[in-house]
């Protein structure tokens, strides 16, 4: 990129790399979620006020702004519906390991009110991916599961426990059934 203000002499660039270490325990609610997840169970919280089911739970219902606790735990099945997706062409940046286009889908588990974002969907070519597609979790073998990819930050996924959500071959779900739970 040419720069009109640039003189013949190259500007000096100072590298100032900073490393900060953050250590934190998983929140009590996420900790419970992980314990169950490693056993192959999907456990969220049902808001005692409005009844909405959040998975994983953040420890509160953001709609009612009330705290939820272990008393509000509910298990949901590992089957669900694709409610939205995109195919991401990865951008290179420090720490990026993805090089090939990958699926970034939202999967609404049956009985949950908010979808799991950023899930991989397998069992069909990318160009056949669609909303309404029925999927089921493809779990890693028990001895290969870890909680490594899960953090309080919300950027983690279940990728270290569930490989992907695989198309089941069932008929697509009607949009009526999930239209209020897409995002």
């Amino acid at each position: 990129m040419s720069d009109q203000t640039q003189t013949e002499k190259e500007n000096l660039v100072m590298e100032h790399l900073v490393s900060l270490t953050y250590r934190e325990r998983l929140t009590p609610n996420l900790n419970r979620f992980v314990d169950e997840l490693l056993e192959g169970r999907l456990v969220g919280h049902k808001c005692p006020s409005c009844g909405r089911v959040y998975l994983p739970s953040k420890g509160y219902c953001p709609m009612c702004v009330v705290a939820t606790s272990a008393e509000d735990e509910v298990e949901v099945p590992d089957t669900g519906t694709v409610t939205g997706f995109t195919i991401v062409t990865p951008v290179a940046y420090y720490g990026q390991q993805e090089t090939e286009p990958f699926v970034f889908a939202s999967v609404l588990l049956d009985g949950a009110d908010t979808p799991l974002n950023g899930q991989d969907v397998t069992g069909l070519p990318h160009d056949q991916l669609r909303t309404g597609l029925r999927v089921k979790a493809k779990w890693k073998p028990k001895d290969q599961r870890s909680a490594e990819g899960i953090s309080n930050r919300g950027w983690g996924s279940m990728g270290t426990v569930v490989d992907s959500f695989e198309a089941t071959g069932e008929p697509d779900a009607s949009e009526e059934l999930f239209k209020d739970h897409i995002f």
Partner: protein, 357 residues
């Protein structure tokens, strides 16, 4: 024109809540905020839908994630949509913005909150990254060492002694005994404190604040609404904040010119104060701030224990205001001054003047 010359006198704190400051809170920052915001709303006797404007204060770098503040919106009750803003600053500055917004007169109630968990990181590492990235940060100087330089300068200028620092600490810990939200409290002998080893000479470990996690929220209301909601509202007589040069070498670090200016602009005229709450992060700063504001001997400073007893960064400044307001609302004080700070060595300072009737 000073802020207290017009409408400002018509706005009061009518409710508040804070979480207990702890060294390492297990819940997330939002989880700390959810009950605190709910309790402040309950304390003010309002419905969430009565709130006309909300302002939040937090710092992404404490959490260690960009856009961390977005999650905090979930504690504000942002559905249906709300009129809301966020400052990358202590909750005291969020309160300033909300107080300003209330003065437009089209809304009656505003919510401000501040929150932070310092526990996941090493604050001395994180806050070193607040320094000028070209000229200061590469030197590897950290905020605690800077505070040591300030303390030494204060001694060299003949303005304080190490015994004065230890006295501040002993007072803080003793006062904190009656504060259920404080982290460090107890009876300490000044001579025993002085016998402790140096940490950053002339500072000892107890001259440095603890690492704390907490959240705080405040509800303000305007005019008749405030009188209706609260028997004895804490009227905000003035609020102002000022910043000065960043590079500590460009300032007289044994005084705080921006605090002096902010106090004057907030309307403090040197009259008697029943309570003063100062964000004196390091013990020598209490001496600097008292001088800067012009507080005489015998003024009740940091009855809560102050930041030396609990220092939840991004909440600690607003907690000072809440501690001052609480004493007006409960009738034990009639005139109070609260202070918040930001930047290295008291670079930026906010002063809030509160009164009963």
């Amino acid at each position: 024109m000073a802020a207290n010359d017009r409408g400002a006198t018509d706005i009061a704190i009518v409710g508040f809540a804070q979480s207990q400051s702890v060294r390492d809170a297990a819940p997330s920052e939002v989880q700390l905020l959810v009950p605190v915001v709910a309790d402040a709303i309950t304390a003010a006797g309002i419905e969430r839908s009565d709130i006309g404007f909300t302002c939040a204060g937090s710092c992404d770098y404490l959490t260690g994630g960009p856009f961390a503040f977005v999650s905090n919106l979930e504690a504000a009750g942002a559905w249906p949509p709300i009129s809301e803003s966020h400052v990358e600053a202590d909750g005291a500055w969020a309160m300033y913005e909300a107080w300003m917004r209330l003065q437009e007169g089209d809304i009656d109630v505003a919510l401000a909150f501040g929150s932070g968990k310092s526990s996941p990181s090493n604050p001395a590492e994180v806050w070193a990254q607040q320094l000028d990235p070209y000229y200061l940060a590469p030197l590897g100087v950290d905020p605690v060492s800077l505070a040591g330089i300030q303390a030494q300068a204060l001694i060299d200028a003949g303005k304080a002694t190490e015994r004065d620092f230890a006295t501040v600490v002993a007072d803080s810990r003793r006062n904190a005994k009656s504060n259920p939200n404080a982290q460090l409290s107890g009876d300490y002998d000044v001579d025993a404190l002085l016998a402790e080893p140096y940490y950053r000479r002339p500072l000892r470990k107890h001259d440095v604040p603890p690492i704390s996690d907490a959240a705080v929220a405040v509800i303000m209301a305007r005019g008749d609404k405030a009188r209706e909601l609260c028997e004895r509202p804490a009227w905000i007589r003035g609020m102002d904040h000022r910043i000065e040069a960043h590079q500590p070498g460009l300032r007289d670090i044994t005084s705080s010119a921006s605090t002096t200016l902010a106090a004057r602009k907030a309307g403090y005229d040197g009259g008697p104060l029943d309570v003063v709450e100062l964000s004196s992060t390091f013990s020598p700063q209490e001496i600097i701030l008292k001088n800067a504001i012009g507080l005489g001997a015998g003024v009740n400073v940091n009855p809560s224990g102050g930041p030396l007893a609990a220092n939840p960064i991004m909440a600690v400044g607003l907690i000072r205001i809440v501690e001052a307001a609480s004493r007006i609302i409960d009738g034990t004080a009639n005139r109070a001054l609260a202070h918040a700070t930001s930047g290295p060595l008291l670079q930026q300072n906010l002063v809030c003047l509160l009164e009963g009737e």
